[in-house]
Subunit: 268 residues, 2 copies
DNA sequence: AAGTGGTCTAGACCACAAC
DNA sequence: TTGTGGTCTAGACCACTTG
């Protein structure tokens, strides 16, 4: 890029791939700025495993040289990836691939907090795997995971307790193929967040998620596991988690007891 | 800034105020980059009403001249303000002060959606003011609004219906002083979002909010207003909304019926 | 054609961390 | 001292909107 001016027709941003600033098909000029093309290339490095969770990526100057653009342009690409929580910048040290492990908050996607608002006040959660079995996807699960109906899925049921009090009952479903080999023992033996295990053991990194929340009453079995009554209303939290490329990789349904905890959300 | 180098001790970013790059009190050097100081100055222009909701702010070059910095520096300040939804950029037209009115989504802070996920499918909500009265703040409300207990507050109760079905029952409390003159008639006569009325009539712009969500069972009165039974679990959504400077300006408690709707949340 | 935001560059220098 | 991210600048040019 040092030789060719920006916005020129020669917008080959890298040696191995031409992202193409304009995919002119007549409709929708689809102009894409250079830093967006760089971002796509970096996303590929993340997805392919070239850059692994918690590892440092090349320095900005190195990347600028590799992609033949200025440092400012790769900075803008990194800025966006950092804003999406895919990368973490550390001044003086480098830029690192984000991870669900070694994250100072244990559960990044868990929005349930004790009434006093301080998750540290109750210590780490106790986890108990109730069940983990292989079965065929129901219509609902298949839709959520973009599978064919009756494809193999893994189903896990577990209970989370805080200060010894059962508070969350979770059922979750994972696509069978990427998670082949996952067992109840494997889950029980791991002491970090589940999403951290997915990263290290199966190379699946959850990037974002969506939740649908409702108020419900539990059935008899759910009551027993949560030590509560059928008259106690619970939060039903249905989550779909995605890897790169918006690929759904987990469907989860949680029942939250909210007598001593609440679901916190920030609106901007 | 054109004459003095960056990071110099003469970091007076504007003619009328010296934001001071370092408030050196011995501890915590508190280094603040230039664009952050610019951001603070722009925040003051927003807060003081110099720049009003939906109006255009000066162009980047004008601001650069006013603050005696480069265009890139004011861009970075604007970038952050836009990321916080305080400003909206429109290429070719200018940068505008964000507003709760004329926003293509009617209720920016309302996260309840119909099961099909499309809020347009059910048309606009019907609003009915049940009550609007002046009273003294309870301990809980006083705490949430940072008032003294027994200070005057306004209490409003209303019901929102979708397709004719009562779905949300809301109680909300506003500090008496800033909202002096607000009446049920005033609320009922306005057809835009409540937060838009707050902007135009009282000069109060809600900037962000926090919600605490629980599952609850309604009492008899709540049941009547929502046309439901005491055995139907509801979402209790407790919201505190803030203006500039993190000043709480509204406390609200909503009861959401979630048999045909759900609360949607995006996790990043 | 003029004005506004958006992109890109090259270079200088600061803050922070590690050796 | 070196290397990394972070800030700031000045200038060129592109994309979009409006007259």
């Amino acid at each position: 890029m040092a030789a060719t001016p920006p916005y020129s027709s020669d917008s080959s941003a890298s040696a191995d791939a031409d992202a193409g600033a304009t995919t002119g098909s007549g409709l929708t000029p689809a102009f894409s700025p250079l830093y967006q093309q760089i971002k796509v290339l970096m996303l590929q490095s993340l997805q392919s495993g070239e850059w692994k969770p918690s590892a440092a990526i090349p320095s900005e100057l190195e990347l600028a040289a590799r992609f033949k653009v200025s440092q400012g342009t790769v900075r803008k690409a990194i800025d966006e990836l950092a804003a999406e929580n895919l990368l973490v910048r550390r001044q003086g040290k480098g830029t690192f691939v984000a991870t669900h492990a070694e994250h100072h908050v244990q559960y990044r996607f868990l929005k349930l907090f004790p009434d006093n608002g301080d998750p540290n006040s109750e210590g780490p959660a106790q986890r108990k795997i109730i069940d983990c079995k292989r079965l065929r996807a129901s219509a609902e699960v298949a839709r959520a995971l973009a599978l064919r109906p009756a494809d193999a899925v893994l189903q896990v049921r577990r209970v989370l307790s805080f200060a010894g009090v059962p508070t969350i009952l979770e059922d979750l479903w994972l696509p069978g193929t990427p998670f082949k080999g996952l067992t109840a023992e494997r889950l029980a033996g791991y002491d970090g967040p589940m999403y951290a295990l997915f990263e290290t053991e199966f190379g699946v990194r959850m990037v974002r998620a969506e939740e649908k929340i409702r108020a419900v009453l539990p059935d008899a079995e759910q009551c027993k596991l949560l030590h509560t009554t059928q008259q106690t209303p619970l939060l039903s939290v249905e989550r779909t988690a995605f890897t790169y490329n918006d690929t759904p990789m987990e469907m989860r349904r949680g029942l939250y007891l909210t007598d001593t905890h609440y679901y916190r959300n920030a609106l901007n």
